[in-house]
């Protein structure tokens, strides 16, 4: 075999590079994101009404689908009223309804989005709430 030394050296360098992310992160557990739900707007609500448009578990996994449906419903069909599974009415609006309660975009949206490395382009157009003290 010709150039044994070069090939093996190359292979070793390759393996080191490819596995770099693994051994570089060994032992460094990145903490799970914990979105904060204690905005002043939410605290103001009475205890019983302190809930999102749909149950927490649903919102956690499906909020992007829900927002997509809301978007199409509002812009394409002109339907702006959302009646949730427990018969409560909401105006479908990311900027005005969602962000009114979740006025802490950095600690609510961005925490998870950064953790899972997704970059939704919602905020290119929609105006994020002004955050206090951050």
């Amino acid at each position: 075999m010709y150039d044994t030394g070069k090939i093996i050296t190359g292979l070793i360098i390759f393996v080191i590079l490819v596995t770099f992310p693994f051994y570089n992160n060994i032992g460094k557990a990145i903490s799970k994101p914990e979105p904060k739900l204690d905005t002043p707007e939410i605290q103001k609500l009475p205890e019983k009404e302190r809930r999102c448009v749909e149950p927490k578990a649903f919102m956690r996994t499906e909020h992007m689908k829900l927002l997509n449906e809301w978007r199409d419903s509002v812009v394409r069909d002109g339907n702006r009223m959302y009646v949730s599974t427990d018969r409560k009415k909401f105006v479908m609006s990311l900027q005005n309804t969602c962000m009114n309660c979740h006025s802490n975009k950095k600690n609510f949206c961005d925490q998870c989005h950064n953790y899972v490395a997704v970059k939704p382009y919602c905020w290119d157009c929609h105006i994020a709430p002004k955050e206090k003290g951050t």
């Binding site: 812009v75 002109g78 702006r80 009223m81 009646v83 900027q95 005005n96 157009c125």
Partner: protein, 267 residues
Amino acid sequence: MSINRRQFLKIAGISTIVGLGGTTTIKALWRDELEASQVSPSPEALVAKRWAMVVDVSKFKIDNDYKRVIDACHRIHNVPDFGNPKDEVKWIWTDTFSHAFPGQEHEYMEGGIKHKPFMILCNHCDNPPCVRVCPTKATFKREDGIVMMDFHRCIGCRFCMAACPFGARSFNWRDPRPFIKEENKEFPTRTIGVVEKCNFCYERLAKGLIPACVEACKDNKALVFGDLKDPNSEVRKILSSCYTIRRKSELGTQPSVFYVIGGSNNA
């Protein structure tokens, strides 16, 4: 042990019935999580079969009359002011008679009309060419006649701008955010690479409010908004009592913005 045709048909028939029944039962038992949720239009929304606007030119007298209307629209829709005509984004603006109604001007026209600025906006055509050419259906006509822009879908190809004979559409060549003096939190801004235009304030109609420009000249009724299909609407009353013209009606796009060209005493 073979079966004959009669037996086969019997078994096939029964299993089909059982099978169909089975799926319906499963479906009935399977509760879709969001099955109970539903959407509807807001109860207070203004509705019409065909929205239209009348511009009474004679009621625009001083510069402030125009400015008030333009500001009202541009402020609530977060329309940026780039300060140069090359990048300009506009929803409602003014132009001269000869530009607004090309081919209809003549040299002996009354000076007041000839040099007067005309309020111009998207005509919300019945037969909108912009909708026909849009490859993504980002611009579309609602059932009530409003020609809408879905900013989410716009890919910025600008076919609609080429197709619109009224130049009613603007393209965001630059990021508009830094050029908006005061952001209105109720309405989104746009992003670079998106086409935008007047939307007859569909977001205000949904709340039961008339368009911002019409509201801005509520006192002198220079702009009137209403249902074209309703014979008793204010718009129809004006149309039946005054002579009105539309922009470039020869193109067959059927604009829904009508202009009352009052002229002076003799007109």
